[in-house]
């Protein structure tokens, strides 16, 4: 093995220019994929973090069909207090759950006494909401997210459009489930930055104010947003919660409920999927580059060394040894490209991090892109390149090993 590696490496240095060019091509491909995946990962991670930590939570629980009708904010598809109690018990028992926030979502009219416009509101328990959405505070442009009874936090578009500032008194008018209209006078205690998402322009009121406005005697809940301890265990946690609420339904303790992860709630998931497809495309491009370049260079290598192969065969070298020699040569080329590519890609990512480029997404501005070197991802990409380098070498190597020694020795 050592001798075969030595011969392989010397043959690579024998055709130095060609080897360097091929390794460079592989390296460029590796750099492109590693840097792209790191940047794309940083972008999607940032955006997902914004959505889950400042608005959605990691998963949400609703009455069945509520999400399909969420644009209308229906008051007829609420979780009853008994059902909420069952869900709360389930969430408290689930070790993956960090916190949860009960929300009463409704739509209404917002008036500054001179103008009126539509508004979407979340009636929340402020402490629960802040615990479940740790980035909510960072969305507050003015005031506080920890509102008390009689206060309202409004989106900045509304504040700007209606000319409302902190401390102003406004009126919220809502129609309850029975069709009667009610109004409440509230004080603006916070202005909230928008997030590019369907519910990214919702305001907040205290849940008790919402109940009063909607003439509810007991709190009925539209959704329960849940924060997990470990986002990477989302599927497992969602599965556990889903099973628990289904069991409650089966046993007749609760009506049918749905558990949605953020992926089913945010259109950004489709963007994330698209980015993943792009990353996959980049990886496939890399595979093509490695496959074609390694196969090409190894075929050339075999054709240039026909007589040498014939000599080795004449001396009694077994076909598998000749095959191994060429496979190791292709593998070495792949390893060289990977080492250069990974090193340069890691350096490039560190430089990007140091520079901290900013970008805008929707109405969000000044988002900082912070890609990081993901060793696991690098290992996967490197393994793919190595595998493809071997695949690209197998055909030429097999050709070499099957060469007729008489024909090979006759070769000029």
């Amino acid at each position: 093995m050592t001798t075969l590696t030595k011969i392989a490496v010397r043959n690579l240095t024998r055709y130095r220019r060609r080897s360097v060019l091929t390794a460079s091509l592989i390296a460029i491909g590796v750099i492109a994929v590693v840097v792209f995946e790191a940047a794309a990962g940083a972008f999607t991670g940032l955006m997902i973090g914004q959505m889950t930590d400042a608005m959605l939570g990691h998963l949400q629980i609703h009455r069945r069909g509520y999400v399909a009708s969420i644009d209308n904010l229906p008051l007829t598809m609420m979780l009853t207090p008994a059902e909420v109690a069952i869900v709360e018990k389930t969430l408290r028992a689930e070790p993956e759950v960090e916190s949860y926030s009960r929300r009463l979502k409704f739509g209404g009219m917002f008036s500054n006494y001179t103008e009126t416009t539509a508004i979407r509101l979340n009636g929340v328990y402020p402490d629960e909401e802040v615990r479940t959405l740790p980035l909510l505070a960072s969305r507050i442009r003015q005031g506080t997210a920890r509102l008390t009874k009689g206060e309202i936090v409004i989106p900045d578009l509304l504040a700007t459009g209606m000319g409302v500032t902190l401390g102003d008194t406004v009126v919220v008018i809502a129609t309850n489930r029975d069709g009667s209209v009610n109004a409440a006078q509230l004080t603006v205690s916070g202005v909230l930055a928008n997030i590019t998402s369907p519910s990214g322009r919702d305001g907040y009121v205290h849940i008790e104010d919402a109940m009063t406005l909607l003439r509810m005697e007991a709190p009925e809940i539209s959704e329960i947003a849940v924060r997990l301890k470990d986002f990477d265990r989302l599927d497992r946690a969602a599965g556990a919660v889903r099973t628990a609420v289904q069991q409650a339904n089966t046993s007749g303790q609760a009506g049918e409920m749905e558990v949605h992860t953020w992926e089913g709630l945010s259109p950004f998931y489709n963007v994330a999927v698209l980015i993943n497809i792009l990353a996959l495309s980049a990886t496939l491009g890399l595979v093509a580059i490695v496959l074609v370049s390694v196969m090409n260079v190894m075929l050339m290598s075999v054709y240039e060394r026909v007589k040498e192969i014939g000599t080795m065969a004449a001396m009694g070298t077994m076909p598998r040894t000749i095959l191994g020699m060429f496979v190791i040569e292709g593998l070495s080329l792949g390893v060289l490209g990977i080492l250069i590519g990974d090193a340069v890609a890691a350096a490039a990512i560190l430089v990007i991090n140091a520079v901290g480029p900013t970008f805008n997404f929707g109405r969000e501005t000044g988002l900082v892109l912070s890609p990081h070197v993901d060793l696991g991802q690098m290992l996967i990409i490197s393994a793919v390149v190595l595998l493809v380098a071997v695949v690209g070498t197998v055909q030429p190597a097999f050709k070499a090993s099957r060469m007729d020694p008489v024909e090979a020795l006759r070769h000029g």
């Binding site: 001798t3 075969l4 011969i7 010397r10 043959n11 024998r14 007589k307 040498e308 014939g310 000599t311 080795m312 065969a313 004449a314 001396m315 009694g316 070298t317 077994m318 076909p319 040894t321 020694p405 008489v406 020795l409």
Partner: protein, 232 residues
Amino acid sequence: MSLIVANGLTKTYTTGTVRVEALTDLTFTIDRASFVSFIGPSGSGKTTLLNLIGALDRPTTGRLLVSDTDIATLDRRAAAAFRGRTVGFIFQEFNLIPVLTAYENVEYPLLLVQHVAAAERRQRVLALLDAVGVAGQRDKYPDQLSGGQKQRIAVARALVTNPQLVLADEPTANLDRANAALVMSTMRRMRDTLGTTFVFSTHDPRVMAEAEIVFRLEDGRLMGRDIAGAAA
């Protein structure tokens, strides 16, 4: 005593619809430890015959026994194994592996074909490099060596596995007179020392003169057998 026994040996090539009989009904024997040459003009079948004896190719008809092995029965792997333990090759153009030093070229068959232990390998390689007079060139690559040095290294490589038979195809064709004489004397000395059988193909009169038995080939047929450098 015979190392090589050929009986009615025929080799035919077919290219498209054209059938070419390269060797026709050859019958001969070659004893162990002999110094034998096949001579004849280009296209007479010398190289084809050496390829058959060296198990690089298989006869179309007839029987060819080399060291009691029927060459016709060997498949690709068995032929490779047979060559590795029985035959050494010396080529007209030396055919040294360019990325290996002189030492490594001689070591190659011990390492990658016979898998001999390191200590024994080293001892045998150094002894042979010394015996063929190129010990001082051991760390040089082929492109740093003269033609004579290359061919002597090729001789060492062919002999390092202690083969029963060395096949040399035009071994002096690319050498000047002095180097040709040196290579031939080296091979004869090796034959005398190790008892190896040497079979050449050549039209070099100097090689013919060195051979103890000369077989004459013409158009793939054996035309005569001369003994003790009496070929004409």
